[in-house]
């Protein structure tokens, strides 16, 4: 797996904060760079997927590490 260029810790935050922070982080990154997002909001699993479909960013992987969700997102 590719390494992330940046990591965003959104643990303990609830909807819609993980999405808003993700947007902000991606906004400051270059096209093709990878953001690793860590969240604990169970709703983020569906929401991050829907977010990426809408923005065109690529959700490379979603892994559940004992209740923490790790997302790898490649900026479009």
């Amino acid at each position: 797996m590719q390494n992330a260029n940046q990591t965003l810790d959104a643990r303990g935050l609830n909807c819609p904060l993980p999405i808003l922070r993700t947007r902000k982080s991606l906004g400051a990154m270059l096209s093709g760079e990878i953001l690793e997002l860590i969240a604990t909001d169970p709703g983020s699993v569906r929401d991050i997927d829907a977010f990426c479909k809408q923005t065109g960013d690529q959700l490379l992987s979603t892994t559940d590490v004992s209740g923490e969700y790790h997302f790898m997102i490649r900026k479009a």
Binding site: N14, I19, D41, F51
Partner: protein, 202 residues
């Protein structure tokens, strides 16, 4: 670039039809790809619970890359005040669950069934439930209204205030945050809503 097929001879109607349909689909797809979705929200409520939907939806829409405007009218204008003092009460709001956000789990799970008459005569009941509500939001990691409003402004959500309401309630513009884009009436906001993809009344 798409390769445009040659126009068929003018007397071949079937081929002309197919050619036209194909071009039409191509043009339509190009237009859809370039389209920025837009959303207009009308916020009419000024209680702590009802303050959430407009700001959550607006900031999320903006995060998705949409062009978002909120028209604040009547009690919704409370949400644009510099100093927010939003409250919530289960009085006249029977759907609101009354649960303690703190304490042992068995206590937190318990739904407190307080008769309306008791709520109505208990001094400070509204302040008490508002504080509990805020505690619950904090405990669950839900953002404060101030934070969501700031994030919305940052994400370039257009904040539009209803001038008529401001006059009606005798408020001053200095009572409100500086980030208001426009002070207008319904006739100025509706044309924006007309062309929006999503219209919500909260």
């Amino acid at each position: 670039m798409n390769t445009v097929p040659a126009i068929p001879p003018m007397d071949d109607l079937n081929a002309l039809n197919d050619w036209f349909d194909r071009r039409f689909d191509e043009r339509l797809a190009a237009r859809e790809a370039a389209h920025v979705p837009s959303m207009t929200i009308i916020a009419t409520k000024g209680t702590l619970d009802q303050a959430y939907p407009p700001f959550i939806l607006a900031s999320t829409g903006a995060a998705l890359g949409w062009d978002v405007s909120i028209f604040f009218t009547f009690y919704g204008l409370e949400l644009l005040k510099k100093h927010l003092n939003l409250r919530v009460t289960p009085l006249g709001n029977p759907a609101m669950p009354m649960k303690l956000p703190v304490g042992p789990q068995w206590l937190r799970d318990m739904e407190m069934d307080i008769p309306t008459s008791v709520m109505a005569i208990t001094p400070g009941f509204e302040g008490f439930t508002s504080r509990l509500f805020k505690k619950g939001l904090q405990a669950k990691g839900v953002a404060s209204i101030e934070e969501l409003r700031e994030l919305s402004v940052e994400a370039e959500v257009r904040m539009v205030a209803c001038q008529m309401t401001v006059d009606l309630f005798g408020w001053k513009r200095r009572d409100f945050i500086d980030d208001i884009d426009d002070w207008v009436g319904a006739a100025s906001f509706l044309p924006r809503a007309l062309t929006a993809d999503v219209n919500l009344f909260v």
